[in-house]
């Protein structure tokens, strides 16, 4: 990834926004920040840290990154904890806790705690808080996952650690919990300069559609998601069919996750069977490296769907809104935080509702255009990486002024 400076974002977010970030950073120069997570590559957390840490350093805030180490057994346990926080049933026997605690404590021996703020990402390194008394640092737990319906036994175990932190950060109001510590809203973000979101030349978009044999002769409705039942691809096809009885259109279902996931392969087969050879349904199994292709497919679309049954934050919705696409999303996970009904998009609760919104928006292009415009502006205000940076800067100020509701710099 090429080094990106904060000023590279100025043409996108405006001079005033960048100036305000520099103003906010002014009193924080020289602060030492440590980010701790469990992986350096792959996954959304590593991706955002890879992008935001250079920007913090660019602002004069010394930010370091430590990745905790662990064997297969440790990461098996943390994977189970992760799934349990998503609500999966799990017995949490003493041996699992022992592995989790032993490896966590071993890691603590190697983490430099001489910092002003230590940000622990997700549950894997959560036990680091046991070292709180050894430092003057403020401790922050950044939870990236949906813990709105967790396995109670696992959550109770983790909560005992969470409440020792100074603050907790959640990606959506619906992921927050009743806690004895302050908690703040930290929306996830997208990078407008990344391959998945940057502007593309129309010629490139046309090339991509030609390569996938997708004619641009009628409106295109698209869902970008891995082939997973929780993304309800079969429901998407049903909604498309209901809508197509009134308004002719094409459907693109594109995503990864099939090549390395046996269940993904199964779902892909089900989707192909449900499509029943309809030439207007285009099913594309993409590689994880297909960011530019996904970008092109989104930009070529007339409407974007995210008809998930369950969802994390739903950054595919953010990406669609950023591209000024009228977007229809289910009222699950972080989607309602992004789609304000009839303002930044359409929020739906059923296949029938999805079909109706497809018909409505394809028949009312001016309303669809207005939704897309507002969605784009809303992403600019809330969900770009510059906003994530702003929230971190604000957080560092708030940690230095405990109990104050208005902080004057």
């Amino acid at each position: 990834m090429a080094f990106v400076s904060l000023t590279d974002y100025e043409p996108i977010v405006g001079k005033q926004c960048i100036e305000e970030l520099y103003l906010l950073a002014e009193g924080l120069k020289g602060k030492r920040i440590k980010m701790v997570n469990s992986t350096a590559v792959g996954g959304g957390v590593a991706e955002i840290l890879n992008r935001i840490i250079p920007l913090l350093n660019d602002l004069g805030i010394t930010t370091l990154w430590t990745v905790i180490k662990g064997g297969e057994d440790f990461f098996e346990v943390t994977k189970k904890i992760h799934n349990a926080l998503h609500g999966e049933g799990l017995s949490f026997p003493p041996r699992m806790k022992e592995i989790f605690l032993e490896v966590s404590r071993e890691n603590l021996r190697y983490i430099d705690l001489e910092q002003d703020v230590i940000v622990i990402h997700d549950p894997q390194p959560i036990v680091c808080i046991e070292s709180k008394d050894r430092t003057h640092a403020k401790w922050v737990w950044r939870c990236h996952i949906d813990i709105s319906n967790p396995n109670e036994e696992v959550w109770d175990f983790l909560k005992g650690y969470v409440e020792h932190y100074d603050v907790a950060l959640f990606s959506s109001p619906r992921f927050s919990k009743q806690l004895s510590i302050p908690q703040f809203l930290f929306f996830p973000s997208i990078d407008p300069l990344s391959d998945k979101n940057r502007d593309l030349e129309p010629e490139f978009i046309n090339q991509v559609l030609d390569r996938f044999h997708i004619p641009q002769d009628k409106p295109i409705v698209t869902q970008i998601s891995r082939f997973d039942r929780l993304k309800d691809p079969l429901g998407v096809i049903q909604a498309y069919r209901l809508a197509k009885r009134y308004t002719d259109c094409r459907l693109i279902l594109a995503g990864g996750g099939a090549s390395d996931d046996p269940e993904g392969e199964l779902v892909l087969d089900e989707v192909r069977a449900e499509a029943k050879g309809d030439p207007d349904i285009h099913i594309l199994s993409l590689l994880p490296t297909s960011s530019l292709e996904i970008n092109a497919l989104q930009r070529a679309s007339t409407l974007i769907l995210q008809k998930s049954i369950r969802e994390g934050f739903g950054l595919t919705v953010t990406e669609a809104l950023w591209k000024k696409k009228p977007t229809i999303g289910s009222a699950v996970g972080g989607i309602p935080a992004q789609i304000i009904p009839n303002f930044t998009g359409a929020l739906v609760h059923s296949i029938e509702g999805t079909a109706y919104q497809i018909r409505y928006l394809l028949s009312n292009p001016e309303i669809a255009r207005k939704l897309g415009e507002c969605g784009h502006e809303y992403v600019k205000e809330e969900f770009l990486i510059t906003q994530a940076l702003r929230r971190y800067l604000l957080l560092f100020h708030v940690l230095s002024h405990p109990g104050e509701r208005i902080i004057f710099l």
Partner: protein
């Protein structure tokens, strides 16, 4: 001759949204929250949260009315709450009491609304503001206009909306300065009369500029 007063220092602000962990799924639960929550939570949901959607005008500016409309589908109550005029209140406490009265009255008339579950929950939040000085300070109306043309919209929001927390619900920093430093009562009132909910912040910038330029001409 250009009339000069004490300098007006332009500030700007950013907000960090604090989640209280409290939520309402029904109107009855929302009423309970309204009775118990902090004044700063009321201020956030009525005055601050729309700042992040400043580029357009929604049907209801208040998050409470917006949720009742879109999640509970109770348009009658949403309209009644949405119609509450900020200028009729002298404090956040006063405004809270009125909102509670409107909802309680509605529930007396339509008791079935009490336990109807919304499509999405209402999550109670409040915010912490970090205010910082910009490079701009002015002493007269001409200088004010020059800065007003270029300052960020969050600075306008800070002086026009967030100021209500410091100065009182009816006024704002611009009016305070026009009144106390430049002795321009008429202009101060005109700025106080701007309906902050009916215009995106960029339009409010133009409205303020127009009113100040008219004042300069007279």
């Amino acid at each position: 001759m250009v009339k000069e007063g004490n300098p007006f220092y332009f500030y700007t602000s950013s907000n960090l949204v604090e989640l209280t962990g409290e939520r309402a799924d029904t109107l009855e639960e929302l009423l309970t929250i309204l009775k118990q929550c902090s004044g700063s939570a009321i201020f956030y949901h009525v005055f601050q949260s729309f700042r992040d959607r400043h580029f357009a005008i929604e049907k209801y500016h208040s998050d409470f009315a917006q949720w009742i409309s879109t999640s509970l589908d109770d348009e009658v109550l949403a309209e009644k709450l949405g119609a509450l005029d900020v200028r009729d209140f002298i404090s956040i406490r006063d405004m809270r009491e009125s909102m509670i009265q409107v909802i309680e009255h509605h529930l007396q008339e339509h008791p079935a609304c009490k336990e109807r579950t919304g499509k999405t929950p209402f999550f109670l939040s409040q915010s912490i503001s970090v205010a910082m000085p910009t490079q701009y300070a002015v002493r007269n109306l001409e200088g004010f206009c020059q800065v007003m043309e270029r300052v960020g919209v969050f600075s306008i929001h800070y002086h026009l909306v967030e100021a209500r927390l410091r100065l009182g619900i009816h006024t704002n920093d611009f009016s305070y300065w026009f009144r106390t430093s430049l002795n321009r009562e008429g202009l101060a009132k005109k700025i106080e009369e701007i309906d902050i909910y009916l215009h995106p912040l960029e339009e409010i910038r133009k409205l303020i500029l127009r009113k100040v330029q008219e004042e300069i001409r007279t």
